[in-house]
């Protein structure tokens, strides 16, 4: 698998002249391969957002190398590399620039000097991918939060990025909006094999990823599949995170002496285990 992004021993501080201030990111290394979905989790202030800014060159590390498509990120190739990475931010109202849905998606394409015919084609394709092609001329104020975030995703997709970064993109949405956005990302991955990196507090969202990075105090505390990370159990709670609902309930049930075959991350697994271990005659 092709390497899309790699961070190699990255250290960064916001105040390089003050040696007593703790580094915001301390010796962090990880690699993202093509087609993967990586979730970065961690408490507020753990360095997640700093990493996002380092990845697309809004900040540069004091130590270490960041490579995008095997090429070291420098101030010279920054703009070209940014065009390979689509980013969707937290607040749906802060990233809508167009007067209509299709204008918004076309914005970045116009900035990049894409010819008109090609632009129209790409706008339609991108909006089809997020299932917003019925609302081409809708104005942003008539869209729900989930719809706005889907338009933001389409805006990123229109540039045909190699990597889609979601920086807490679902955290301000209502449950329905959140479900819409996650379903969109899942469908995109199935259809196009898009590489996704999501920074999130929502552990139910992190479960969907192939791999998780768990940040604590600027350092990478652990890396692994969701089941490996959630197996850390109480350590997660100590470091400001939580366990997914099914795991919390599994733990409580075991304490009460209910028989269960294993740890469960999803509700479906837990219901089935409860049924086969305790109720099926």
């Amino acid at each position: 698998m092709d390497e899309i992004l790699s961070l190699d021993h990255i250290t960064f501080t916001y105040s390089p002249d003050e040696p007593n201030v703790k580094n915001a990111v301390e010796d962090v290394s990880f690699t993202v391969h093509e087609g993967e979905w990586i979730a970065i989790v961690g408490h507020n202030g753990s360095g997640k957002s700093t990493i996002a800014r380092l990845m697309n060159g809004l900040l540069f590390p004091q130590q270490g190398t960041i490579k995008v498509m095997n090429e070291p990120l420098t101030e010279e190739n920054l703009w070209e590399i940014r065009s390979q990475m689509g980013m969707v931010f937290q607040n749906p109202d802060n990233q809508f620039v167009g007067a209509t849905v299709q204008d918004d998606v076309a914005f970045a394409l116009e900035n990049n000097g894409i010819p008109y015919k090609e632009m129209v084609k790409r706008v339609h394709e991108a909006l089809q991918q997020v299932k917003m092609d019925q609302l081409l001329n809708h104005e942003p104020q008539h869209l729900s939060g989930g719809q706005k975030q889907r338009v933001a995703i389409a805006g990123a997709l229109a540039l045909k990025p190699r990597l889609l970064i979601l920086d807490e993109a679902t955290s301000m949405l209502d449950p329905q909006g959140r479900a819409e956005v996650l379903a969109t990302v899942q469908a995109l991955r199935e259809e196009t094999g898009l590489t996704v990196l999501s920074i999130t507090h929502d552990l139910e969202e992190a479960i969907l990823a192939d791999r998780m990075l768990f940040m604590n105090g600027g350092e990478k505390f652990a890396e692994g599949t969701p089941s490996e990370i959630f197996a850390l159990g109480d350590q997660l709670l100590d470091l400001g995170l939580d366990l997914p609902f099914a795991m919390k309930l599994t733990k409580l049930l075991k304490q009460d002496g209910v028989e269960l075959q294993g740890e469960h991350m999803t509700e479906e697994e837990l219901v089935n285990d409860l049924w086969t271990s305790n109720f099926k005659k």
Partner: protein
């Protein structure tokens, strides 16, 4: 302090071609000392109601009773200061409202505006900074040097410094990590109990509404369509679905399990602990029956 909305309607830009009705004949009684959650889909009118609660917006029809004050549509309401002192609103992302040079100055700004002496306001600030879980040394720092979670706590202390009787929370945990979320919600519950506050929580989180509130109101298309206890509200999945809402994860799980085992658990559970107990009881019954 009792709050009562009597057939409240509100239209933005009333009397212009851009007039847009946001509330329709909303009836809602919030008794003193209750913990009331207001839930609803985006655009259901939750935020418009919230702004009525301390008269930032005034009804275009109907009347609103806040304690002993009545605000009636079409009548001039004078001197709303006491209302605004008694009803403290913690807006979404309250840290965006910090503006002073130091945390202390920021916290005392509100109470001093309502005529509290600097000395008394400073005393309150010292007490509150501890209450929201921050060290006293932070009072001398610039609010802009703090982390997001700390800023949120400072902003909350600033609202509490006015010693409101009613506290209105608009998505108070948006953007916080799971621990921060639980700490803030537990803090509000503690305040609610200790100070005998009336607490109004406007939220997208069915989980928080189920766990913390004792009464829930559902807003839908500008109308208050359903009120009741969390059990009453979340026990009826079909009805919730018509308002484009979903029961909390816990309730959905309980229903799935009940469908699978072919019978109901004893009660509708609203916390993980309750649900674990109810499932354990069902498992014991099953064993005894075999």
């Amino acid at each position: 302090m009792d709050i009562q909305l009597q057939k409240v309607s509100y239209a933005y830009a009333k009397g212009t071609p851009f007039e847009k009705r946001a509330l329709f004949d909303v009836e809602l009684a919030i008794p003193s000392g209750s913990y009331q959650a207001i839930i609803g889909h985006t655009g259901s009118g939750k935020s418009t109601i919230l702004q009525h609660l301390n008269a930032l917006l005034k009804p275009t029809e109907g009347a609103l009773q806040i304690g002993d004050r009545t605000i009636t549509a079409g009548k001039k309401a004078k001197d709303l200061k006491p209302v605004r002192q008694k009803v403290g609103i913690v807006f979404q992302f309250p840290e965006h409202q910090l503006f002073e040079e130091t945390v202390l100055k920021d916290i005392i700004f509100g109470p001093m505006n309502f005529g509290v002496s600097e000395q008394e306001a400073t005393k309150r600030a010292h007490k509150l900074i501890e209450l929201v879980g921050l060290p006293h040394t932070i009072l001398e720092k610039s609010p802009f040097d703090l982390s997001g979670g700390q800023m949120r706590r400072v902003a909350i202390a600033g609202v509490l410094a006015m010693e409101p009787e009613v506290i209105v929370l608009d998505e108070p945990t948006a953007g916080l990590d799971p621990r921060g979320r639980k700490e803030i919600m537990d803090l509000f519950l503690q305040l609610h109990k200790e100070r005998n506050l009336t607490t109004i929580l406007v939220t997208h989180s069915m989980e928080d509404a189920a766990r913390y509130a004792d009464r829930i109101a559902i807003m839908h298309e500008g109308k208050c369509v359903l009120t009741g206890s969390p059990e009453e509200i979340f026990g009826n999945a079909e009805k919730l679905a018509t308002y484009r809402l979903e029961a909390p994860r816990i309730v959905r799980f309980q229903r799935e399990l009940e469908a699978k085992i072919g019978r109901r658990l004893q009660t509708l559970c609203l916390t993980e602990e309750e649900l674990a107990r109810a499932i354990t009881a069902a498992v014991r019954e099953e064993r005894a029956g075999q």
